[in-house]
Symmetry: C2
Subunit: 593 residues, 2 copies
């Protein structure tokens, strides 16, 4: 009897063992059955849409063929692992809306032994898997080690480093390359021509990047066909040398709107699965309402005015506000290097050296990958490039893998790198406008995700190099220094203090890389100086102030975030706990006076 879709009761699938008993028809029905709650969840709850819909069959085939969890699968980026979670004991998190939030959007070892790493930055899976394989070889194990990496992640340097080393292991090492001809947006880079050639020749072309790197190679043209996938995986199972299995999948498969607009439905907030319309979306206003679209609007007009301006992204044009239209308009002045932050930053150094005006938009959590380029290629070489760090601060992304509050300390302790922290919209644009064409210094401008306010009394400058701290409000009892978005918090705290008879000075430091020595000198006579920054306190701005005032009797308090990987936090709760609200800051001041 041929089994049909209706017969698959997803909630009976507790582990991969349950699917290893199925026949091909059942597995196909399983894929169909899994897509329904997947689409239901991502359209109601938001999340990664296309990557998960495209990988349903491959993940079924992987767990069918490989003896997980003994056999080890490392998923790169791991935002494509919803189907994996469904098959490994977490089905309810997809079938039962009340349990949607019981799982994260990435692999998470705390959730399941099938999840090997907490992983959200791209391109590291092959390197991680090479360590698992080496450990197996030292200990004498026999398990398969599989890395699953998407074509978009292949451009990241660590992916290449991992592939280069992995080729020399000489033992079982299986790399599944999920090729859907898309990064988050379109793919960029020389390797993609080769992937296309391989797809077009059914894997037979002579120019084969993977063979050139030392891998055996298999191509699966129908990467959403379970029998084809199972055949390929069975052929490489227990193999005793490194092999690449290149599978051609369709991003967004099974959801027409996601198949049609792969970039929009890479990740989405809740949407109507029929029309693809974003739920609750209002008509776009004339005026951009958040930092990211403000940046995009400003840059798209500047690109027309300054032909030497080069606008650079490392594979995340959408995340920094640059939709397909803006990119098209920008023409050759827009550069997407693919997921390759080191390239983006070093290239900016070359552009500045060559007389152009590079502006790089980079997501805070991903700039970490290019620390050496900030230090060596930019700062040591004094190249006046501009970097706009997006989603910095607590008001960024809130997964433990994507935090935006380690950036201030990281960059501000590099010699010669000016790190500007605008307090609101006008100051941001003023800083950006100056940074773009000046030739004095490399500049980082760091903005949070989300909306902006504007702070009354903030004075804009013509030149932000060696900019002094600005006293936004003059007082006599206590000094409050608010970095970036915390300037307005400090002003609110000052209001509260005023009502209690305390007259506070409020300072906008404008930047966190250099102490304003005159301003610090003035503070020596104070009773209390309080700093607040939307980054971790350790290694940050406030500690520099505390150190500079170390020999003075003034009491210094440094507020900010703890040195911890917070996970899926609520920003308001965190601020409250840390005493970073105007009320609590005012209380703290009064307790010290």
């Amino acid at each position: 009897m041929k089994k049909t879709d209706q017969e698959i009761d997803l909630n009976l699938i507790k582990s991969p063992a349950d699917i290893r008993k199925m026949d091909m028809d059942q597995l196909k029905s399983l894929a169909t059955a899994m897509r329904r709650p997947l689409i239901e969840k991502v359209s109601h709850h938001g999340g990664h849409v296309g990557p998960n819909l495209g990988m349903v069959e491959a993940i079924i085939a992987l767990h069918y063929v490989f003896n997980t969890p003994e056999d080890k699968i490392v998923f790169d980026v791991s935002h494509q692992t919803y189907p994996h979670k469904m098959l490994t004991g977490r089905m309810e998190a997809f079938t039962n809306p009340e349990k949607y939030d019981t799982v994260t959007g990435y692999t998470q070892p705390k959730e399941s032994e099938y999840d090997l790493f907490s992983l959200g930055h791209t391109s590291s899976a092959v390197a991680l898997a090479s360590g698992l394989a080496k450990a197996r070889d030292l200990i004498g194990g026999k398990e398969n080690v599989v890395a699953v990496i998407g074509d978009g992640s292949l451009s990241g340097g660590v992916a290449f480093e991992g592939l280069d080393y992995g080729a020399t292991l000489g033992t079982n090492f299986i790399v599944v390359v999920n090729d859907n001809d898309m990064s988050i947006a379109e793919n960029h880079g020389g390797i993609y021509a080769d992937l296309r050639l391989l797809r077009n020749t059914n894997g037979t072309a002579d120019n084969n990047l993977f063979r050139a790197m030392g891998y055996a190679y298999r191509y699966v043209h129908y990467g959403n066909n379970i029998p084809s996938l199972i055949k390929a995986f069975e052929e490489v199972k227990d193999i005793n040398y490194p092999v690449v299995v290149h599978i051609n999948t369709m991003k967004g498969m099974g959801l027409p709107v996601a198949e049609a607009d792969k970039e929009k439905f890479h990740w989405s907030v809740p949407f109507d699965p029929e029309t693809g319309n974003i739920l609750g979306e209002t008509a776009p206003s004339e005026e951009p309402q958040d930092y990211i679209s403000l940046f995009a609007t400003h840059m798209s007009s500047r690109i027309k005015e300054n032909p030497k301006l080069a606008l650079i992204t490392a594979g995340t044009p959408g995340a920094i506000g640059l939709g397909p239209e803006l990119r098209k308009e920008a023409g050759k002045q827009f550069v997407d290097v693919g997921i390759a932050e080191q390239q983006a930053i070093a290239m900016a150094s070359g552009l500045a050296k060559g007389g152009a005006d590079p502006v790089v938009g980079v997501v805070s959590t991903f700039l970490q990958r290019a620390y050496d380029q900030f230090s060596q290629d930019i700062a040591l070489n004094h190249q006046p490039a501009t970097f706009v760090i997006m989603y910095g601060s607590l008001f960024g992304m809130n997964d433990e893998t994507h935090l935006g509050f380690f950036d201030l300390g990281l960059l501000s302790n590099i010699p010669g790198l000016l790190v500007l922290t605008p307090s609101g919209k006008d100051e941001f644009i003023s800083m950006l406008r100056w940074a773009e064409t000046q030739r004095e210094t490399p500049v980082v401008v760091r903005i949070p995700g989300g909306g902006y306010g504007d702070v009354e009394g903030v004075q804009l400058l013509e030149n932000y190099n060696d900019a002094p701290y600005q006293v936004v409000k003059e007082g006599k009892d206590v000094t409050l220094i608010g970095v970036g978005t915390f300037l307005s918090t400090m002003l609110e705290a000052a209001e509260i203090l005023k009502s209690k008879g305390v007259d506070a000075t409020v300072i906008n430091p404008r930047q966190v890389s250099n102490l304003d020595k005159q301003a610090i000198e003035k503070m020596r006579g104070e009773k209390v100086v309080l700093t607040a920054e939307d980054g971790i306190v350790d290694g940050g701005f406030g500690q520099k102030v505390a150190s500079a005032l170390g020999e003075s009797p003034v009491k210094v308090v440094n507020l900010g975030l703890p040195k911890r990987f917070l996970n899926r936090y609520n920003a308001a709760d965190v601020l409250n706990e840390l005493g970073l609200t105007p009320d609590k800051i005012a209380e703290k001041v009064i307790s010290l006076l």
Copy 2:
């Protein structure tokens, strides 16, 4: 008349224009003439031997064919640019021993307009050059842009990112791959099999990494033959698409001892050019005399005792003490991933997750390239791998490109990463021994270059996780905290203070990543707390102490290095200037009491 070697007067060569008039015989004589002072200088003065001797002909041919400085050449690593400096106005720095130190060992824009970047970390030249090419295309220039990268540097992720992007430029972009079949030590990685195949097939093999990445390709088998090189470079000059010119050169060419032992003569202190013996070298003592050889000796014995131990380097086995014999002994427990720090650190995470005991030896200045792996793959995932940071502190390498004093702040502000700072030999080995097999936490052990002392009174522990600060000397007037090598400095300062009637407490914090809250509580009652660390003060240990004591009346002074790229400094002078000597520390204390 055929001109002979004798007719080339090197000191008449002031710029590349002077060699563009020469015929082939003269150019050949020029190469012979240049090798003499090169060998003379490196054998008397020390420096990079093999890389420069191997590139004499290629650099002559580059400057002969390309119209430098209008045409732009970016040298990767730039330790192979001695011949380039000889041809670009700096001949005397090689022919006149009194002027040896008027040039650095790397390209340096302050020295010459022919030097585009200050560059010493590897693998970034292609990315930098891609920016120069893009700037040219935006501005409307016509110059050639050339990146020269060695085979050893190709394994670094940013090299691949640069190649991947560069392939899409669609305009003039010339990558010269200098293939001498050697990294610093032997090459490691899948791409090297392909380079070998290309060499063995005179560049005709189908498996061609560069073609697979989208480049046109030319192979020069005789990469030390000037006419062959000139022919190839002339063929690609003014080309309007990206091309790789793969040249096969001989590292150490012209100096038999360097041709024979390419690893030993990659870089060398002064040596006898006939015998290759290092000058002034004494017979190796039984007991290792410095941190690096101590590490090597310890690890080679531990490898025999612990079959799960994996000892990892990213292309610098010699710099971390692992000579060819130790490597051979270690067998499959020794892993050289090539110049690929991201791979080394992420792989260590996989190894630890897989139950092995990874120990990574990494040079301080190069760990910067793997910040994201320390943060995400190691710390966020709590993998108990061990990292020994070599040449940290002021007592490391002293070129501005190779500084070792930015590491403490960089790593100690990552949540959950324990950063240990041994004060001497026994504490180092004690920490290393514990770190290797424990399963509680990722551990960094940071050691300086050069010799070690041992500090009396330092108490060794069984377990360094959550280790408290140790009071090495109990006092009552002032507290001195000395990080790592500065513990002995503080003890000496305490001796001086004692002679002046001041009784100092001296503390060994053992680690810089977590404050010992009890110890800090005790300090609240002090008059003066002084910290000293051999890293930059900004973002470092002392500022954490200052911040923690900010509300207390105690005066806190943080000593350490300035946030500056020092260049070719003398460590003793720097310490003196910064007040980091026992005398000056004692003076400072007295001025505060």
